[in-house]
Subunit: 403 residues, 4 copies
């Protein structure tokens, strides 16, 4: 997604080269614990193999930065554009998304070569201050933010694959859930006009604008996240079996998928366990509930006599600084559908396909998660997934209209 | 959907008995041109047989009015509750929705007997002023509004069935499309706080409330509807083939369904025809476009350099009285997802299932259509369908943010 | 299916006119108890509406007899060829098979007019002895046999529709199952060479030839049919739950379809009932089991320590005259796949599509059923259905290799 | 499949230990060119990952030989029985077949350890002549034949995976198709009674018996195989587009799958290539056609004015020694459905599930292929696949009834 305008205060060349090196190295660090076997598979159409993420983010720089901007750049392998384009219709034909897990060759080692080849060319390009036009800085910045998004997906997608393996492998055996930050009560928002959406300096995706004025409140937004303890109470009260608590499509999903608990949970000898990045572990009651769909979040809120916040309410409340765990723990479902802000128009060209064409049939999540890369989160960030999705690190913060 | 509070000024007994007789007779008048054969089939899971509509609306009065409120009422046939319950989980098990077209018996004549049996009991009940408590008046009023909704579906559903018949039967051979009311330009709405949603007297569905304040504008709303002439220009410009105009899910629908024109259109010897209530007829260029999905409406707006209005914008603009064909021609897609108004809570019990549980994965339409029953439309009415639906009488009104 | 050679002793004109009138009248008699509503629906893709059967058999005479052979014949309605062609690719495009139940118009009355129109033309044609060439006599004879096949389907298809109606309507309220003819023991066939397949005079389908020599035996073929009493013992012994008794595809069907008893059976208050042509009735223990698939027949035989006969074994045994209920009760599954006899070649042209192109993925049934039309059965007749089919009147006769 | 009786002349202990070592080493040799990435994926539900084949064949020895027969044997890992059981219901629950490609851990290296663990235990067991009872020898022999079957699948399954990779990797870059052995004319079989099926010494699967007498002929069986040159003529003549040449289910497959040529063929710049074990190569006209389904073989035979042989005809003709390429090139489709021989009864217990439960909905292939392991082919061998399958090395030999 292009920023809505050329980012004022675009980073200088050394800063950008540095950011490039840092982000790219982080991807490799995330992949390091995974074997070549781990990296090749795709556990469902919505997920992608680690190797694919590593190659696709590289293709993004090759396609949108090096080919148009680096004189004399030699494409690593013409066939990779077909394999590693994701959904950019304007950038040519693509390999079928659900078949990404079939590509054993190029091998993991060849993808590492591809990354090195592109990284070298990028380093040369970014080393030349004269070459760093604002347009180039902008698209490199987009590429880095894009790669950060895929970094989060590397974790969510491999966790999904491991969670369906009867052996429940651990990505990092030492990993453990931490308790949610204790935080009682609500942040009260009286009626008022606020401006939401991205303004001013710094990078943002186009879907965060145009900034615009909205009327918010009166409403209360819970300071703390819903925990596993809360969720176990919902389950014990028959929450998954009580149709009256659910949206019609939601209860259909419950029945079709056989949901009886959050994603990646397994009942072992009468005790609930969750397959986590640390492997299978007993559910930690004080940790925030995670891997719940919008349908489940909505049903839980109804059961609790509460609602979910709208994305505007969330943004205004978070701006007060009084929400615990707003960022870095679990994404928080809002009751807002993912729609364009008033007057939004996607950019022309392939990068215009980044966000705008997905603005239907999805719900907005706000905040960020433990898997979000450092520096990638911000107040105006709009994440979005279908209401049935639950393989991301998604949780729940409640709202109340009578608070 | 129960009104949010007992309707003040509930109709007196004679008025209600009169309304009852009038609404019920209108259903029969709508079904009259259809043979028993026509009335038994179901052309897709989302549609229902005419006979089913006639029986189901009758069951609604039996189940929610007569059984609880009419002492000594004898149920017509216990088996019909199973066949003609639609989706009220709280009212017991139901016949599978996609199999409604398999029920040749009870016959059409037996369903007429069922209607007569219930009508007689209702007439007796409503003839007694003493019996007409506010609660009773409310549920009868809901039943009448419910039946009016099914009246519209009788027309849209049989048209869908006829439109897939190679012979393209006519519901009413004399029926013809009329031109849209000519109306140029936009209604300009400057920024302002407005209250939307239902207030005050008269019936409304629960999803029209709570009334609440919203910030609207600046925005312009087109006075007139998009016409077939406009749509043919979109088609001639390759609109259905240009992925960049479409939401991703929308273009997937175009390809999966083979859409090349609005619903019920057929190309015959190089000329576009539409199967209408009057049978197959050449497309009338000045008539409003009809039978388009949200996906198509959205793509058309993008092609036209415009947007769709939000439902709040539509309601505020329509309240000015300056919109042509706001009611009675075609429902108008908005860019608003169908979601609860702030603080909305569905009523308890079976009637609480009426609206609230469908508040996800659908888009709001406003206004009303040529098939909407007399007296059923109002400014705050929220109709809703999935973005792929196009068998209803659905059209397009545009909005502009730079008007 | 054209007879393999022009039938020697083709019927003379008066006899054929008489046969025509008789067969056509029988179709109408079968449809008479059914309302127009009953006649329009299609309860699954493999079944067809009664009205469709009546129109399609009429189209067959129009398309293959009147148009090529009756000078000056005026086609009733050009559009019906599209609607009522079944699967003859060579005869032009067809209406989609699974959508046959959507055709409410032409009405039932118009189809009656269609039948009358064709019958009048056929009567004129057959009244002229000079016009009755052997080729014409052959195709009329095929048309009559074709219509007899559809007569059986009229009964099986409406029974399927009624059996899924919760109300279980009766086609003929007086209809009852009769006990199987008591018959103990086996017909022993020592090893020997026999000729099977159709020879000599009289009509046969092309798939009954070429007659050819086969080696049969030693084997025993049960004189009597398997009864409901036998089947209830199989059920009581856990037959439907014991995977080891089933073919792999068969057990998958059991699980996917939830089979726990023969087709059209319902358990009501702990007692098994069957929806029959006489409506829902308690299962008659002495009646032959009916509405079982090949998978079930095969599993039952294994449970009983027996096998199913091959079609050659069946034909040789039936020729001895010692089998009870070989004809006129239930079709009997054989363990033979439906394949061409050695040297078989389908005829050219549309009628060559009658049988040959279905010779894969189906199993042969022999004999005939209570729904088979008078005069339609014979020793060499090869009926065929997929191994999962059970809406026909299909039952079981056992064989033994150690008898 | 257990041999129908304890194999007379069962191998002595040293011979069996030697055979065991040889067969097991051959599996590893086949897997050696494949990376761990290559070995983990599953390209369709009917195929399996190489790693799975290696582990499953090992589990077979552990489950059916070591656990019951080797005192003190320690199971390598209890969890592997769940992962590597294929379809033996009697041997306990299994991992879902279509999800075999999701198991990145146990790693390829751990599966190598598993193989070594079992091989060591097997070596100890087979080293003891006293322990080698006939029953033990029989099940070891079955295990070796089982592993040989999976050896062929290792090749066919990885070729399927590579053939869908746009890059078309080569299993063995030096591999090339060789021309079919030139062989004109037909072997004429006059009518006669022959015994087919397995008799006498040596191993066979249970589905090859009971040996029994059949009447075969008169018929001619082509000495040579159908070649790519023949197939290109069929294609050039519009074979894939002419419905009249096809079984109805076959033409439906052509249309649903978009078949226009044999499996793994790609048209590149107007020239047909095939993805082979040697990667993508121009089609060799003199090589036998390969990767065709039964539907295609049947349509080709009809186009050629010929038939396919029955399995009995094939076996009798092959016994004359006059067929070229009967073994070791491509499996040859017969027109025989895969059904039990007269009097066949599967063995009790888990090993009885080997063959018998698949005897429906499949067609028999005879001979063997270039991928069949040394020593695994024989005259009476019955291979079987659904008529739509074409990822095996399957080709065509014709028959004629007027030869
Ligand atoms: Fe991406
Ligand atoms: Fe309703
Ligand atoms: Fe027919
Ligand atoms: Fe196996």
């Amino acid at each position: 997604p292009p920023a809505s305008s050329p980012p004022p205060g675009s980073p200088a060349a050394p800063a950008l080269a540095d950011a490039y090196a840092r982000v790219r190295a982080h991807t490799e660090a995330l992949a390091a614990p995974l074997s070549a076997e781990d990296q090749v598979i795709q556990s469902m159409p919505d997920a992608s193999p680690t190797k694919w993420h590593r190659a696709h983010t590289t293709w993004f720089f090759e396609q949108f930065v090096l080919v148009p901007h680096a004189p004399g750049y030699r494409v690593f392998d013409e066939r990779l554009a077909f394999l590693y384009n994701s959904y950019y219709l304007a950038a040519g034909p693509r390999h079928a998304r659900p078949r990404r897990g079939m590509i054993t060759r190029p091998s993991n080692a060849e993808v590492a070569d591809y990354r090195a080849h592109v990284d070298a060319a990028m380093a040369r390009l970014l080393a030349d201050p004269a070459a760093l036009t604002p347009a180039l800085a902008e698209v490199v910045t987009i590429g880095l933010n894009h790669e950060q998004q895929h970094q989060e997906l590397i974790l969510t997608d491999i966790l999904h694959a491991f969670a369906e393996n009867p052996i429940a492998p651990a990505y990092d055996p030492a990993w453990r859930w931490r308790p949610a930050t204790p935080a009682d009560g609500m942040v009260s928002l009286p009626e008022g006009i606020h401006t939401i959406g991205h303004r001013g300096d710094g990078f943002s995706y186009d879907n965060e604008g145009p900034a615009h004025r909205v009327l918010v409140g009166p409403v209360g937004i819970a300071r703390g996240l819903v925990t596993n303890r809360d969720w176990l109470a919902f389950m014990a009260d028959g929450g998954y079996a009580e149709a009256a608590l659910w949206l019609s499509d939601g209860f259909a999903a419950v029945q079709a998928e056989g949901w009886q608990a959050p994603g990646h949970w397994r009942e072992i000898d009468g005790q609930w366990h969750a397959v986590t990045l640390g492997g299978s572990q007993p559910v930690e009651p004080d940790a925030p509930v995670c891997h719940v769909s919008y349908y489940e979040a909505d049903a839980f809120a109804r059961w609790a006599g509460r609602h979910l916040p709208s994305e505007a309410e969330w943004e205004v409340a978070a701006a007060t600084g009084e929400l615990a765990d707003a960022f870095g723990v679990v994404w928080q479902w809002t009751r807002s559908a993912y729609l364009p802000y008033p007057g939004y128009r996607a950019a022309d060209g392939a990068l215009g396909e980044y966000n705008g064409k997905f603005m239907v049939n999805q719900m907005v999540l706000r905040g960020s998660s433990l898997a979000t890369s450092p520096g990638h989160a911000r107040l105006t960030y709009r994440n979005f997934f279908p209401p049935s999705a639950r393989w991301q690190f998604t949780g729940v913060r409640l709202a109340a209209f009578s608070a």
